[in-house]
Amino acid sequence: MSQATFRIWRSRPGEAGGFADYRTEVSEGMVVLDAVHQIQADQAPDLACRWNCKAGKCGSCSAEINGRPRLMCMSRLNTLDLTQPVTVEPMRTFPLIKDLVTDVSWNFRVKKGIQCFQPRRPDAADGTWRMAQRDADRVQEFRKCIECFLCQDVCHVLRDHDKHDEFIGPRFFTYSAALEIHPLDSAERLGDLKDTQGIGYCNITKCCTKVCPEHIHITDNAIIPLKERVVDRFYDPVTRLLRMFR
């Protein structure tokens, strides 16, 4: 069995923090999260990291591995260069709590501010609805989201420009898009997207799409169609003209 070095961010609340190197044994099939757990069990019992399912389904173990936002549980060691130390850092867009754990509570607050699902009246007398599979498929692409917040982490509007108060980020554009194209939904969200949720700030660099572990086409299928809807509603000259005479 061979060994590899993991350069892991260590910090305590209120302190600056820095990298510490840990050497640990690596074996076939291991992922970064396995290495972190091994280090936790043998060398650093107080090392803080979030994780739950270890199968890419819960979105808890988000981190920056060799500088790239990824899930630790889905980052196989055989895809990394183990002759060099593997750096493991917390998501930098969110306030640090300790080691690899960040304060992601902003995301939960943002979601609460988005107009929730409101179903149209049921289609059938028994209170149920009818929906075509192809319409379900379109929504399900967005509903695959595991809320790992890697897209929020990589988005420069949040990361570099700190627009947390004016911009909800790719995760919540995806969430809004899922509600907007939900075949049963009847609520109105376009005004908020334009006025308070900052959809205009996104300049489609597609960084979010690149890091999405669920391979959701965030930019192409969620953000751009939302931008188009906002433009159609508020900026289209013909509709504006018509509206004046209404």
């Binding site: 305590r12 099939g29 803080a48 979030r50 739950n52 270890k54 979105g59 929730c116 699902f117």
Partner: protein, 605 residues
């Protein structure tokens, strides 16, 4: 030493998986104040791992289905030691609970005429599982979460409950600590709902996340509540076996529901070799009939791969022990073979089983549309738990309710796949409803300051012992090895007695466990606190398993390989008695009403 914060709610819910969220929604909608404590972030609970679907007799795909068939299937699967009242309520109410999810925004896969699609699953007579590809659990938890956040529920994330507090013998709240700062908080509540999930972390090979440490089971037990059926642990037949780091991760039964077959190293479909008598009338007589069943032929019977989980797990275990296993100690699960039957098999598999495709591709470098998977049993679920009243979900402690995996009764000796997600929403709703009603009738509660102080002091002892104490991870690891080896799929009296001796030794080691550092987000300290719970549930599993001297459902005794009639009428109960030891008793199962007996007889054929 005062607690950092004190909170007070009418209803306090511990656990934010499917059952906890559904209970919170119901309680909040009835107008009481609701607090919700979760061990991780909201939306990360183990429910997200559920794949196949939720069972409800909607009869959208096969109109012969109804609550009676579902009830009879559940009782047959549970080998008739279920709480029949819960099985009845579950079968009757699951369809409404599933339809309600759609009103909350869930998007299920559809039938051709636009209704909720249902798929086949082990032990279910008709296609019954409402599903979303193979990520139904994520859909369930996200739907409930996104609905719940608009109802005024206060959510306390990353809090761990340390002690259940009683006032005059009634549940009155909890002591918890927050992971971020490591501070203690008291929660006073007029009713408490435990929805803490399972115990998988007591075993080495498990599909459960780190959270599955039997917290609710142990909190209720230490407070004096009765646990039942703890010997019934479900070993899911298909967990990943390779590479080692992913061993135990679930491979959905949906793979078999979509036509996947099990083969041994000789290429034989060994499940055809061992079909239990009570399932023979409903099982396919040849592979062709089995295939037709998976493709929706109503005249075909199901393939033996879709027999109940306990049976399939034992058959796989037998093949491996007989030397007919796969290279890494499992058997082969093949869905790629369906290309012989379907023209667009590759796309079909990716559409029906997207997360399985993804999981094997990314974690095992294996393309399931081209090659068979290697699978073997993994500790998945515990049928046993807190004994509750079938209607109200109230435990043997007044004001203490339980729902979901930590409650016992609906599943008897073995749970059918798909009955868990429906259990969460049916009994989560009921627990929330009855807890709110109970809270409304109750005056202010008083928390026992002495008990709080003692619990806080005890919780901090690992820091007093420091790094010189036992490594808590090592104790947990050894405990998992012991349960896996001695109280696993195949059990004997001698091995389980040895397990009890070892558990006693682990208790001593756990009492010496120590950690260094600060209280903030300290995983080692958390493990020290988990150990108590793991030890209590492991002891309850082992003692119950020793008491049940027969084989039934998830409980298989090599020294008593057959079912015994005398055990068919009792549940095994464990309870903490005054001197702190665990008392094991046999509790008679109440007589089933004649009309339910008739339902079972009529469905037997």
């Amino acid at each position: 030493m005062p607690a950092a914060h004190s909170y007070a709610y009418d209803v306090l819910i511990v656990g934010a998986g499917g059952a906890g969220l559904r209970a919170a929604i119901e309680a909040a909608q009835s107008g009481v104040t609701v607090g919700l404590i979760c061990k991780s972030l909201l939306g990360k609970a183990h429910t997200v791992m559920a794949e196949g679907g939720m069972a409800a007799a909607l009869a959208n795909v096969d109109d012969r289905d109804n609550w009676k068939v579902h009830f009879a299937d559940t009782m047959r699967g549970g080998q008739y030691v279920n709480n029949w009242r819960m099985a009845e309520i579950h079968a009757k109410e699951a369809p409404d609970r599933v339809r309600e999810l759609e009103a909350y925004g869930a998007v299920f896969d559809r039938t051709a005429d636009g209704r909720i699609l249902q798929r086949n699953f082990g032990g279910h007579r008709y296609p019954r599982l409402a599903h979303v590809g193979d990520r139904t659990g994520l859909e369930l938890i996200r739907t409930l979460q996104d609905h719940a956040i608009h109802l005024g529920i206060t959510v306390h994330m990353e809090h761990t409950v340390i002690e259940l507090l009683l006032d005059d013998g009634r549940a009155a709240g909890v002591l918890a600590y927050d992971r971020e700062r490591g501070r203690f908080h008291t929660f006073a509540a007029k009713a408490v709902v435990l929805a803490t999930g399972g115990i998988g972390r007591a075993y080495k090979i498990t599909s459960n996340s780190w959270e599955g440490t039997g917290d609710g089971h142990a909190l209720a037990y230490r407070a004096g509540a009765e646990l039942i059926d703890m010997e019934f642990v479900q070993f899911h037949p298909t967990g990943m076996v390779w590479p080692p780091s992913v061993r135990g991760i679930l491979v959905t039964e949906g793979v078999r529901g979509e036509g996947g077959v099990l083969r041994n190293s000789e290429g034989r479909r060994f499940m055809f070799d061992d079909i239990p008598d009570n399932y023979k009338p409903q099982t396919a007589s040849d592979p062709e009939e089995g295939w037709r069943y998976t493709q929706g032929d109503k005249n075909a019977r199901r393939p033996p791969e879709l027999l109940t989980r306990d049976h399939v797990a034992r058959c796989i275990n037998r093949e491996v022990k007989a030397g007919r296993g796969s290279p890494h100690g499992g058997v082969f699960l093949d869905i790629a073979w369906i290309k012989e039957k379907l023209p667009d098999a590759e796309a079909h598999i990716k559409r029906k089983l997207p997360s399985m495709y993804h999981q094997f591709k990314e974690l095992a470098d294996l393309d399931i549309t081209k090659e068979p998977m290697e699978v073997g049993p993994t500790t998945h679920y515990i049928m046993g738990g807190i004994r509750v009243d079938g209607d109200s979900q109230e435990s043997s402690i007044r004001g203490l309710f339980a729902a979901g995996e930590c409650a016992a009764g609906i599943n008897g000796a073995n749970r059918l796949g798909g009955n868990s997600l429906s259990d969460l929403i049916v009994f989560g709703k009921r627990a929330g409803e009855y807890a709110a009603a109970s809270a409304r009738q109750r005056g202010p509660v008083r928390l026992d300051e002495g008990a709080i102080d003692r619990a806080m002091k005890a919780s901090l002892e690992p820091f007093d012992r420091g790094g010189g104490g036992e490594n808590p991870y090592k104790v947990q690891h050894d405990l998992q090895d012991t349960m896996q080896a001695l109280v696993g799929i195949v059990r004997t009296e001698g091995e389980m007695q040895e397990a009890l001796d070892r558990l006693a030794a682990f208790r001593e080691r756990a009492a010496r466990a120590g950690v260094e550092g600060h209280r903030e987000y300290h995983a080692g300290w958390h493990t020290c606190l988990d150990l108590r719970n793991l030890l209590d549930v492991s002891e309850a599993i082992t003692r119950s398993a020793i008491e049940r001297k027969e084989s039934r459902g998830g409980h298989f005794r090599e020294d008593y390989p057959d079912k015994a009639a005398e055990f068919g009428t009792v549940n095994i109960a464990t309870r903490r008695v005054a001197d702190g030891t665990m008392q094991v008793t046999r509790v008679p199962i109440p007589e089933m009403p004649a009309e339910l007996k008739q339902v079972i007889e009529a469905e037997k054929q």
